[in-house]
């Protein structure tokens, strides 16, 4: 048993090393030789952030049995927190030529609202990316878990949470740009955020890709570590039978609260790294639709596996982005078809493909063997050519 576990660990670490080599060395190398365009590296960076978001949901749904239908609340909060810093660094190069973001001039503000002021500091904004989603999850989780809300009720509560956030962030009085949200970022720490091909200014596209890759690598390392610790065992025990864990003397609420908060923080950082690569955010990031995509990525990739959510998020997003251009009228049907095929033939997700193939090969082999032995014995009791397996 010990051997299996350590071999498994080795294979995960090798895989992670391959992944790190590709994202931290190969892609930057091709990029700097001009092989990847700026907008493509931004797109890959977005996929990596979504993969980290999917891993954070897998931590909840796959390993703890908490289906969260509002994971994008934390992703969005992280994005907004970082977006506030970026909006305050747009400078006076806007329609209204004031230091305030345009939408505030638009709505008649003459000075920065008090809660916006600290976000002029880069450090504060980065901190807020972590603690805002964290505190939000802590409060929501505390109330939900203390009331022992579980299963489908928990899923509904999180969906309601994201709906509330959606309505709130679309309101102009909420001072976060209303429906237009945050767009047109220009600078970060005084440097240009984006490359301008016509003035040959270089931006920070590669930096954000690397940061996204690092975030994903760290979260995967965390997942590998969690599956091997005692904590991880309790976590999975909660998923499989929470009452037994509780009666064994563990306070399951505290475990769940910790994991929920941790997943929210990962989602928040993913959101903050995603924002400059996506180029804008508005309240629609809190639409239930967005959080459901994350559930789809995890389910399609393979729930409860280390690599499943990563594969799901990257493959589905890449497929969607490609099909929206090549088959703009039918991409929904193509995507839906892929989901159906996976649900029907690979219920464990894409990551179970390897295992499944081995299984199929074994079945084929045993069937052929059976068939051959039956032929030899000339036993065919039903007379229909179908072999009967004992």
């Amino acid at each position: 048993m010990q051997l299996t576990a350590s071999r498994l660990l080795m294979s995960h670490l090798i895989a992670l090393a391959v992944f790190a080599l590709v994202t931290l060395a190969l892609v930057p190398l091709i990029y700097s030789s001009g092989g990847i365009a700026n907008h493509d590296i931004q797109r890959y960076g977005k996929y990596l952030c979504w993969a980290a978001l999917a891993v954070s949901l897998n931590l909840l749904w796959g390993y703890t049995g908490l289906l969260c239908l509002g994971q994008c609340v934390f992703f969005g909060l992280g994005g907004y927190a970082f977006g506030m810093y970026l909006m305050l660094n747009v400078g006076v190069d806007q329609v209204y030529k004031t230091a305030l973001p345009d939408f505030m001039d638009f709505l008649g503000y003459t000075e920065l609202p008090a809660h916006w002021k600290p976000f002029e500091s880069f450090g504060f904004a980065v901190g807020a990316v972590i603690w805002v989603p964290g505190v939000m999850a802590l409060i929501f989780g505390f109330l939900a878990f203390r009331s022992r809300i579980t299963g489908v009720y928990f899923a509904i509560m999180t969906q309601a949470l994201t709906y509330v956030a959606w309505i709130l962030f679309l309101r102009n009085e909420f001072t976060f740009g209303g429906n237009n949200g945050f767009t047109d970022f220009k600078k970060i720490l005084g440097a240009n955020l984006y490359s301008h091909p016509h003035t040959s200014t270089n931006g920070k596209e590669l930096l954000f890709f690397i940061l996204s890759a690092l975030l994903l690598i760290v979260t995967i390392l965390l997942m590998i570590a969690l599956t091997r610790t005692r904590f991880g065992k309790i976590q999975r025990a909660i998923r499989d039978s929470e009452n037994r864990v509780r009666f064994s003397g563990y306070c399951t609420e505290n475990f769940k609260l910790f994991i929920f908060t941790l997943a929210a923080i990962i989602a928040g950082i993913a959101g903050a790294l995603w924002l400059p690569q996506a180029g804008g955010i508005n309240g629609d990031v809190f639409l239930p639709r967005e959080s459901l995509w994350v559930v789809v990525w995890v389910a399609v990739g393979g729930r409860g596996t280390i690599w499943g959510p990563v594969i799901g998020a990257i493959l589905i997003s890449a497929l969607k982005s490609w099909a929206q251009r090549e088959y703009e009228n039918t991409w929904i049907i193509i995507l839906g078809g892929v989901f159906l095929i996976i649900v029907l033939f690979l219920p464990g997700g894409i990551s179970s493909l390897g295992k499944k193939l081995l299984g199929w090969i074994r079945i084929c082999r045993s069937r052929t063997e059976n068939f051959i032995t039956n032929r030899k014995k000339k036993v065919d009791p039903n007379g229909d050519g179908e072999e009967t397996l004992q």
Partner: protein, 439 residues
Amino acid sequence: MKQITKTLKYIRCATFNSILAATVIGLAACGKSSENTTTNNTVGGSTGETVKVGVLHSLSGTMAISETSLRDVLLFTFDEINAGGGVMGKMIEPVVADGASDWPNFAEKAKQLLLDDKVSVTFGCWTSVSRKHVLPVFERNKGLLFYPVQYEGEEMSPNIFYTAEALNQQAIPAVDYLLAAGKKKFYLVGTDYIYPQTTNLVLFQYLRSKGIAEEDIGGGLRKEGNKTIGAGKYTPFSHTDYQAIVAEIANFSAGGDACVINTINGDSNVPFFKEFAASGLTAEDCPVVSFSVSEDEFRSLPTKDLVGHLGCWTYFMSLDTPANNKFTKSFASWLADTDVTGIKKEDRVTCSPMVLSYNGVYLWKKAVEKAGTFDPTAVMKALEEGISFDGPAGPVTSQKNHHLTKNVYIGETRSDGQFKVVKSFEKVYGEPFLEGTFK
């Protein structure tokens, strides 16, 4: 022995998975780089016999119901132009991308249209938020976007041409008409986002400048010190309960001479007009003028509840002019013949955003011919110098401020989902910056 086989199996699975994950990015990167080396594009997106033109609308999601019509009319216009010999001898080759009602996705698709397909011009966007998301993309890469839908103004990007109605080509003429009809009280109601907020703030300032007292402007005011920074009543998107608001309107209009300025967006208009009709209010004693309800929206609205209420646009399908009759006829026969997948053929109408898309393509064609090049910067310069086109709703002329001079019409809703034109304003100059200009 069994243990070892099992272990090997695990290793195979895990390694398989991770290699799959890692190669996706690598493959995508390599695929892209080989693509980049094989493509050899000339400036401005015109290669050989064709010129690439981008179409960026939502063909799926919440905005699809409105935006697919614009995609359809654009494809029709391209075919019409190609049948007449193309633009400077080059056939238009449309590149259609689905924005999917997902705003960051609009930005991603805009980048791909500009940098991968290298389109000369893009026609697209409906919502302000989608325009705000693609604006930096077009500015950074010196592209050219034609934007066709009525909007709040307060913007003039060097890389966007707004064929859209500015506020003074829709809201102000509508209020002028109502003032002339003897209305003295105005109730403002809308969906809570930037277009209704700005429209109502501008209208508040305009009404005050016309001598309407603050208490005769309904819906509530938001003040900072002595300055009014917001006016009107707002509901969230997809709001359904309009009982309290309609009751307030009934009270407000009790003295007579009242009207409602409606900037409610999308499906919320259904419960609003149902409630309005149910409360006994009629178009005679309190007309509602809507800025977001065109012929195309009647597909999803209870038309009978809207009869007699007003609309204000720079085009109505019912305009009885030779140019409009020709336009609606050729669009209908194009629809009947087209084999493009996903185009609805029955019960189709034309509306203002569609005609503004149509006008945009012809203005671009004329500007390209005037500039003698497909280069977006030169084309924009030609547009700034003034290009005229006789569209279905009369002549339109491009202005230096990237907007259009065009005719404005006020129409009364008929039971068949069309408008009866009751008033027209000729050649109204499009003015995007209105806030704070009325004293």
